[in-house]
Symmetry: C2
Subunit: 225 residues, 2 copies
């Protein structure tokens, strides 16, 4: 049996869910509020930050916190439906882009937009600051331009095949799309890629998640948007 501790609008948790889904692994979801961590969860994961995967194995229980370690673990232990490409170059490029999204994108976009539009709502921290939103949107445009530049050279972000890089980028963009922050009509090449991403069976259940106090745009879960 497998349990994934997650928070629905957390890009890292979404990546872990999609990675498990791509591998067709069955798992139970256990929601965590990142701003009000229980002692029980802390005892399991001293990091105190989802995602955490708990898996019963013949050698005892395995507990893994962190999206990179979880994604590598499922790739390491389940060879079907690879989420890293066939060559060292492909794998390096996918991992480079995962860090891009988990570090650079998180610092330059999420710390502005998700913080102002989600964390403040969930924690009762007041209204979003419009100057911070503006800065986050400028940064987002830079990142979307970079993604378009990559997709002009290759069908998927890291190369010929769908990979962890698409999972990382798609998970991040899906959270921003929940907030209506991606203006798809300005980004036709990106929209095409995101349509393919959204239609994957691993992604569909995530788009059905809702968070109290927040309403996504009407087109959010639609494949035609």
């Amino acid at each position: 049996m497998r349990t994934l501790y997650h928070w629905p609008l957390d890009p890292a948790s979404r990546q872990a869910r999609i990675a498990l889904g791509e591998k067709k692994l069955k798992f139970r979801l256990e929601p965590i509020n990142p701003w009000s961590i229980s002692e029980k969860y802390l005892a399991l994961s001293p990091e105190g930050t989802p995602p955490t995967l708990v898996e019963a194995t013949p050698d005892g229980q395995i507990v893994i916190t962190g999206v990179r370690a979880i994604s590598e673990y499922v790739e390491d232990t389940t060879s079907r439906h690879p989420i890293l490409g066939p060559t060292p170059r492909d794998r390096a490029e996918a991992r480079r882009l995962c860090s891009w999204f988990d570090e650079k994108f998180t610092q330059e976009v999420n710390a502005y937009l998700l913080h102002e539009k989600v964390e403040k709502i969930v924690t009762g921290g007041g209204n979003p600051d419009t100057a911070i939103l503006r800065a986050g949107r400028d940064h987002l445009n830079f990142h979307l331009e970079y993604m378009v530049w990559l997709l002009e050279q290759r069908p998927w972000l890291a190369g010929h095949d769908f990979s962890m890089a698409d999972i990382a980028a798609g998970a991040h963009l899906s959270c921003l799309d929940f907030l209506g922050e991606v203006h798809w009509k300005n980004w036709p090449r990106l929209k095409e890629w995101y349509q393919k991403f959204k239609s994957r069976p691993s992604v569909r259940p995530i788009l059905a998640d809702r968070v109290p106090g927040l309403t996504p745009p009407r087109y959010y879960a639609d494949l035609d948007f």
Copy 2:
């Protein structure tokens, strides 16, 4: 031929150097000032943050930015002297701890101590703020306690073998040790581990690096400290 773009007191750059060193791979070092990035480096790495590995291969040049992608790449392409353990559990634990240091430790310790004691000196940002230093030192104690707890159960941080987790932790602690921030006499078990880390041929050259304006403690590069 291989080139590693790095900054001497950057824990991520140090990790990449140690990973290459563990694999006995030859490389040329190219210093980067993270606070004054050249156009040439940006053209190579849009991330704009060291470390970046550039490697000439029979299939053309490979450019990888980011410590996780670089470390995984050397493990992927050079099987001798593994830096990930033999079982999926070992590898998951090592990767979990790498994220611990690169995310949690960076946010809770480096953002306080390295920022105040290094970035401010290098960028002319004024004197360290004593309240911020105090908070960073409190956080550091929590992390050192956690490392001791792990090392009471295993010879190396992620298990039976030296791994990426030791490289990550050692690289971070070596930067703080350069600033005299680790009081080894309070941490005998940790000191024993750090002595073994310091004595590795991959680590020795790093301890010879100096940064203008900063002087490490006398014992910094000594194996007996």
